[in-house]
């Protein structure tokens, strides 16, 4: 039965991917942009799922890596020319990886409430670095005059300023990140990570360097969050300190919880649900004056989800899906 439910999940995931691949044929430019944004959010939430859902590390500073990679792109891009993706992407990810290594080496010495607050504090440090100093040009942030280019010599088949091209690139990367994380989690490294969450003392007693495993996951999660930040800058063409704020870390945590932790595809479901719910709450025809105050509805929604649906939407779907499958067993 477990196999059949996993089979159903796999079928649903493939169907979802096909729907996303066909979506540009039907959607307008606005919705194409919205779904692109959602898929970037999904990559961001999946990266968090690796350390939160699998390794059990509650980070309230995950936006630091998203924002840092975005700033790396904006700061290294030439002023009136397109940056080359082939240079700026590895550079941004590498720099973000080094940052995650440095911060991770410090914060992973702590646990529990301390871990939450220390990750938060380091993200704030970065926020003020870009908000207060000349480096980040203050609260206005930085504009990219030209989107990064994928050209190799004269060969330039994909343009990031084309909505369709960007959409498919982000979709491909979202699937690639999903498969990468699946592979990592199925590897011995991933198994140890899951074991650490279940019983850290026992894993240590078995002779594993727990700290190194956690740090490895932390750095990988940071780099993938950086990928999402890089793509987000490609989509919108500017960065500002808000993407480094702790509120944004809260949003990605909520996205993951809403979708369901520890499943990876839960992060994708969560990204769709969160952004669509936010769009719904700010829809004026439905909420009238309260549309402007959508955060009020969002706050109530978050409180209700935490109290009533702690397993997220994925768990709800699995429960609904499990019921009909259970019937033949009785007969």
């Amino acid at each position: 039965m477990i196999q059949s439910s996993a089979g159903i999940t796999r079928v649903l995931l493939i169907a979802g991917a096909v729907c996303l691949a066909l979506f540009p044929l039907a959607g307008s430019a606005f919705y194409l942009g919205l779904v692109t944004k959602i898929m970037i959010m999904a990559i961001f939430a999946m990266s968090l799922d690796l350390i939160l859902g699998y390794a059990g590390l509650v980070s309230l500073g995950h936006s630091a890596y998203f924002g840092f990679a975005a700033y790396m792109l904006a700061l290294t891009a030439p002023k009136y020319q397109a940056a080359s993706v082939w240079v700026s992407l590895p550079l941004s990810l590498l720099a973000t990886g080094v940052l995650a290594l440095l911060i991770g080496a410090l914060v992973l010495r702590t646990s529990g409430i301390y871990f939450i607050m220390v990750t938060l504090a380091f993200a704030q440090m970065l926020y003020y670095l870009f908000h207060d100093t000349k480096l980040g040009r203050g609260s206005d942030g930085i504009y990219l005059h030209e989107r990064p280019s994928l050209a190799v010599g004269d060969f330039n088949p994909i343009s990031l300023s084309d909505h369709n091209h960007l959409y498919y690139l982000v979709l491909a990367l979202m699937l690639a990140v999903y498969l990468l994380l699946r592979t990592v989690l199925a590897s011995p490294f991933g198994r140890v990570l899951v074991a650490i969450k279940a019983n850290e003392a026992r894993v240590r007693a078995l002779g594993f360097q727990v700290f190194a495993y956690k740090l490895g996951a932390f750095v990988l999660a940071g780099m993938l969050a950086g990928l999402a930040g890089y793509l987000s800058t490609c989509q919108f063409g500017f960065v500002n300190p808000e993407i480094l704020s702790w509120q944004y870390s809260g949003v990605v945590l909520m996205t993951l919880l809403l979708g369901g932790m520890g499943r990876l595809y839960g992060a994708v479901i969560g990204a769709f649900a969160y952004v669509l719910v936010q769009e719904l709450f700010s829809y004026e025809a439905l909420f009238g004056v309260y549309a402007k105050h959508w955060q009020l509805s969002m706050g109530c929604f978050i409180v209700l989800v935490v109290l009533l649906l702690p397993g997220g939407l994925a768990e709800l779907l699995e429960r609904l899906g499990a019921k009909p499958a259970a019937e033949p067993d009785d007969g």
Partner: protein, 285 residues
């Protein structure tokens, strides 16, 4: 002399942070709850001071009324929402109180709009003590420091010398054992939560005349309070006091000496302390 003024400002800011952080650290230490909405209560306090001072015409009337209202809000929150979080993972506490922040912030926007408001300093305290021919120090700031010191002393005496303080310490060090010995732990939690909220609101109320009242004022101070609690050691009132003064002075001097980097300074101090002592200066357990 100029530095004396800045150090006095730093100490005053630090003492104000202590009011906020002591409630936060008690709620962490005793109830095991990570409460992001603590900063919102600072904001609620400031707006209550603004609104009640306008209605009653006096900050002195606004203060007790505001404390009563914030205690009531704290009790309602604990009964309806926080109570369900005691046995849940910190993650859910973070998210539920994150939702509360959004709710408080938007309610503030609905009720009071998004303008910056001022609260007049009470006439009795609205003068300065001259330090040199050109420099003077406002008495209201000294008043804030004095009030905070009195509250700190009372807090210390209550926790060290009274029966309820004994229960709080018992609940802090071993929840189950305290319950077995007949302490009404759920009631204790309710009281501690409401009291912590009232402290935060009170800090907002007395700070309102000097900091003015503005949207999002709870966000920044919340994170600074987290830093204070982490540096001091979770659950330690003494640690909160030492760390609050350290951060207050660092932040104020940082703003004068290195304005561009002052935002980061407090976090650098925190990182340094944590490398040295991962569980804070005065680990409670």
């Amino acid at each position: 002399m100029e530095y004396l003024i800045q150090i006095l400002n730093g100490v005053q800011y630090g003492l104000l942070l202590f009011l906020l952080a002591s409630g936060l650290t008690l709620i962490f230490g005793i109830m095991g709850i990570i409460n992001l909405a603590h900063g919102s209560f600072y904001m609620v306090g400031a707006y209550l001071a603004y609104w009640l001072a306008q209605q009653t015409g006096s900050l002195w009337l606004a203060l007790p009324l505001g404390i009563l209202i914030s205690i009531v809000i704290g009790l309602i929150l604990e009964w309806t929402l926080i109570r369900h979080l005691y046995r849940r993972d910190h993650l859910y506490q973070v998210l539920l109180t994150f939702g509360l922040i959004l709710i408080f912030e938007e309610l503030r926007s609905l009720l009071f709009g998004n303008d910056v408001h001022g609260v007049p300093i009470p006439a009795v305290l609205n003068f300065s003590i001259p330090l040199t021919e050109t420099l003077a120090y406002p008495v209201y700031r000294l008043f804030i420091s004095a009030v905070c010191l009195v509250i700190a002393a009372v807090l210390y005496l209550v926790i060290r010398k009274t029966r309820i303080g004994m229960m709080i310490r018992a609940g802090n060090s071993n929840r189950e054992m305290a319950q077995v010995l007949g302490v009404n732990v759920p009631l204790l939690y309710t009281l501690v939560f409401a009291f912590g909220m009232a402290l935060a609101a009170f800090a907002g109320m007395i700070a309102a005349p000097i900091s003015s009242v503005f949207p999002g004022m709870g966000h920044q101070i919340l994170i600074i309070c987290f830093v204070v609690v982490v540096i001091g050691g979770i659950g330690s009132i003494k640690g909160a006091m030492v760390a609050a003064l350290l951060i207050g002075v660092t932040d104020t001097l940082g703003k004068v000496l290195l304005p561009e980097y002052s935002g980061m300074a407090v976090y650098l101090v925190m990182a340094a302390v944590l490398i040295w002592r991962p569980r804070g200066l005065f680990p409670a357990t």
